[in-house]
């Protein structure tokens, strides 16, 4: 029994135990105030499903040796175009959601492939290059959003007839489609079944892929490139597969995020999307060189629950909104910790 417990302890890791204990403490405190614990947990479930796929996107990129994918906005932008195309045509419900995905995925593949060509040439510095490629694309797309040929009056500025608005609401198109699918309530806890099922489906697909032959080859390329060459694996081809996969997941992640959040925030909205996702997978137990689907799942559950529960609880105790600052400190602290750990080779 004791052995089994220590095994669970080592598998789970100290940081996760601390965060879980802190979360439990927060929930106990919340129960003592007039806050509804079930309500808090319902919000947490939504945020987990909303952000889950972004965190999953980190896994193939780390496994293939490209490090944490700070270039997540490359995929997010593909997702945004998908959502906008669906909204431009006023597609409602599942139709809109599917069309958004159908546009986002091929765009994500193309963008991810081009992005992988760049990353293959800068091996060893993927994270830094990726960060600024992501920033540049977001800034460059700001110009596109201003000039883009969208004509639906719900999307563009009422004066001038050109240029998309900063914040678009999905309430009249396909906002909440997935969240409301088979939604049910139990003990006051609202479960967004469709959203969670969709997330679980992608987590399962990714898990399955990483166990397939190309998935294993990807891992070999990431762990030991020299051995991979010796085994006759085409390193750059597998790295491209991993990066495209990561980018496509980001594109899908955005469509899911937007329908759950209910708004699409253009212009500088997606600038920092990579950071909470990076922090999420690290909190789940991944390092810059190794990540499993399980890490992504544990990470998003712990991190998003922490953020959802911490804000109202601390608001009860002290004045002011501390959650945004807590998010900045926790996520960047976690990334800093991962970057300064000894990891064998030099990699950025």
């Amino acid at each position: 029994m004791k052995e089994r417990l220590t095994k669970i302890y080592h598998g789970f890791g100290l940081p996760r135990l601390i965060i879980s204990a802190f979360l439990l403490a927060l929930i106990v405190v919340a129960a003592g105030t007039e806050l509804s614990v079930a309500g808090l947990l319902s919000d947490a479930l939504v945020r987990i499903g909303q952000n889950g796929i972004y965190v999953l996107a980190m896994v193939p990129s780390i496994q293939v040796g490209a490090g944490l994918n700070f270039g997540l906005p490359v995929g997010v932008i593909a997702g945004m175009v998908g959502v906008l195309v669906a909204m431009e045509n006023s597609l409602l419900g599942f139709g809109g959601f599917l069309v958004a995905l159908l546009v986002a995925i091929p765009l994500g593949i193309i963008a991810g492939y081009l992005y992988s060509l760049l990353l293959n040439r800068v091996a060893g510095q993927e994270m830094m290059v990726g960060t600024y490629v992501g920033f540049s694309i977001v800034a460059g797309m700001c110009i596109f959003w201003l000039m883009a040929p969208f004509t639906n009056p719900a999307l563009i500025w009422p004066v001038g007839g050109q240029g998309l608005r900063v914040t678009l609401t999905l309430a009249d198109t396909f906002g909440g489609t997935l969240n409301n699918f088979l939604k049910f309530e139990i003990f006051g806890l609202t479960v967004p079944t469709g959203l969670l099922l969709f997330y679980a489906f992608f987590a399962f697909l990714l898990w399955l892929f990483l166990r397939s032959k190309p998935g294993v080859a990807m891992e070999v390329v990431g762990r030991n490139p020299r051995f991979a060459v010796a085994s006759g694996l085409n390193i750059n081809a597998y790295r491209s597969v991993g990066i495209v996969l990561s980018t496509v997941l980001a594109a899908i992640g955005y469509v899911v995020y937007a329908q759950s959040f209910g708004f699409a925030q253009l212009y500088n909205g997606p600038l920092m999307t990579a950071f909470p996702a990076v922090a999420g997978v690290l909190i789940g137990g991944a390092s810059t060189r190794e990540a499993k689907v399980l890490h992504a799942i544990i990470g998003v559950v712990l991190f998003q629950t922490l953020l959802t529960v911490a804000m109202p609880v601390t608001n009860q105790l002290i004045e002011g909104n501390i959650s945004e600052i807590a998010r900045v400190i926790v996520s960047n602290g976690m990334i800093l910790y991962a970057l300064t750990r000894v990891t064998g080779g030099e990699q950025a």
Partner: protein, 359 residues
């Protein structure tokens, strides 16, 4: 002819940006006097910060995205000096003096962290900047007025915790710039500020002639060989970051005395990005940066900043396009430089690996 070719290929980036800037100036159709005034103002404001980046580049630590920490030290000193109502050029000097130990402390901490992340200093420095920003906000948005007693109507609204979003630096506004100005048309040229910048440039140039400066260069060229030669590489790396952080703190103070108001929670956010973009536009790279490149880059970057809204209006019928374009340029130039650097060092590594094999 060959020499011309060499000069062009060596300075491809600044030449390209000079052309873009000239096109911008042409389309923006701004009055020359106004353009001159804006450029002088912005050069006086920003040159010091851009120069603060040079030392870590030479020491082989790449572009110091962590100068945000120095900027934070400068801002904390400015907040305190406003609280104690320091004024005039003496007050500004005291503020810089007060910022120095804080910047040294931040620099040592940052240097120690970066020594644990060799080969990925830049991303670590950037994340460190975000992290420090979070801690700074936590202190000045929460602890001040709740845990830390701090009652001053100029800095706080007594009904809520935390500092005001903007702090008026009226006692220090322009005290350095206005010591001695020369009027040219509408433009007041702040001679003393430019003297301070020139002094820093000379100091950096002289520094690299000293033993310590040469050690930095050796560490930057090859850490292992420098270590074998008896140079304490880790200590030198920390020192390089300390210098950069202290200079950034002073640079931020000069910047803010020119502007005259402190945006408590976002004056520092873009410091790293814009200073680095300016340095790179001047033709610097991750491993090589000179004083000339820093000043040239500051000039070109800010020229682009001034003309792009009007040029955007003239070319695309929207000033907004120009504004987004300049941000795109700032991020894009950093992305391209980083990619080119990684690309080159990768092909170098590959070449040396192939040599190993053939030997």
């Amino acid at each position: 002819m060959n020499q011309i070719k060499r000069i062009i290929s060596k300075n491809a980036v600044p030449i390209l940006f000079a052309i873009v800037c000239l096109l911008g100036v042409y389309y923006a159709q701004m009055p020359g006097q106004f353009l001159f005034m804006e450029i002088i103002k912005r050069m006086a404001r920003n040159s010091f910060l851009v120069l603060s980046l040079i030392i870590p580049v030479v020491a082989g630590m790449g572009l110091n995205f962590g100068i945000v920490l120095g900027a934070l030290a400068g801002q904390i000193a400015l907040i305190l000096s406003t609280h104690w109502e320091w004024s005039g050029i003496g007050g500004l000097g005291l503020t810089a003096l007060l910022a120095t130990p804080m910047a040294v402390l931040f620099g040592v901490l940052a240097g120690m962290v970066l020594n644990k992340a060799k080969g990925r200093e830049m991303i670590t420095g950037m994340v460190m900047g975000f992290f420090a920003n979070g801690v700074y906000q936590f202190i000045f948005l929460f602890l001040v007025g709740t845990v830390i007693p701090f009652d001053n109507a100029a800095l706080r609204i007594s009904t809520s915790p935390g500092l005001r979003n903007t702090v008026n630096l009226s006692r220090l506004r322009g005290v350095l710039d206005n010591i001695w100005t020369v009027q040219y048309g509408f433009t007041k040229i702040p001679i003393v500020t430019f003297l301070v910048i020139a002094l820093l440039a000379i100091a950096i140039w002289a520094f690299f002639k000293t033993k310590l400066g040469q050690d930095f260069r050796a560490v930057g060229q090859d850490r292992h060989i420098a270590g074998v030669a008896g140079i304490q590489t880790d200590r030198n790396r920390i020192l390089a970051i300390v210098f950069s952080t202290v200079l950034a703190a002073w640079g931020q103070i000069i910047f803010l005395q020119n502007i005259g108001t402190l945006n408590t929670y976002n004056s520092h956010e873009q410091v790293g990005t814009f200073a680095i973009a300016a340095l790179l536009i001047g033709g610097a790279s991750v491993t090589k940066a000179t004083i000339g490149q820093a000043l040239m880059g500051t000039f070109l970057f800010h020229l682009l900043f001034v003309v792009s809204p009007s040029a955007g209006q003239a070319i695309f019928g929207s000033a907004q396009v120009g504004e987004y374009f300049r941000v795109f340029v700032a991020y894009g130039i950093i992305a391209i430089s980083l990619a080119l650097h990684a690309w080159r060092s990768k092909s170098l590594a590959k070449a040396s690996m192939e040599e190993d094999v053939s030997a």
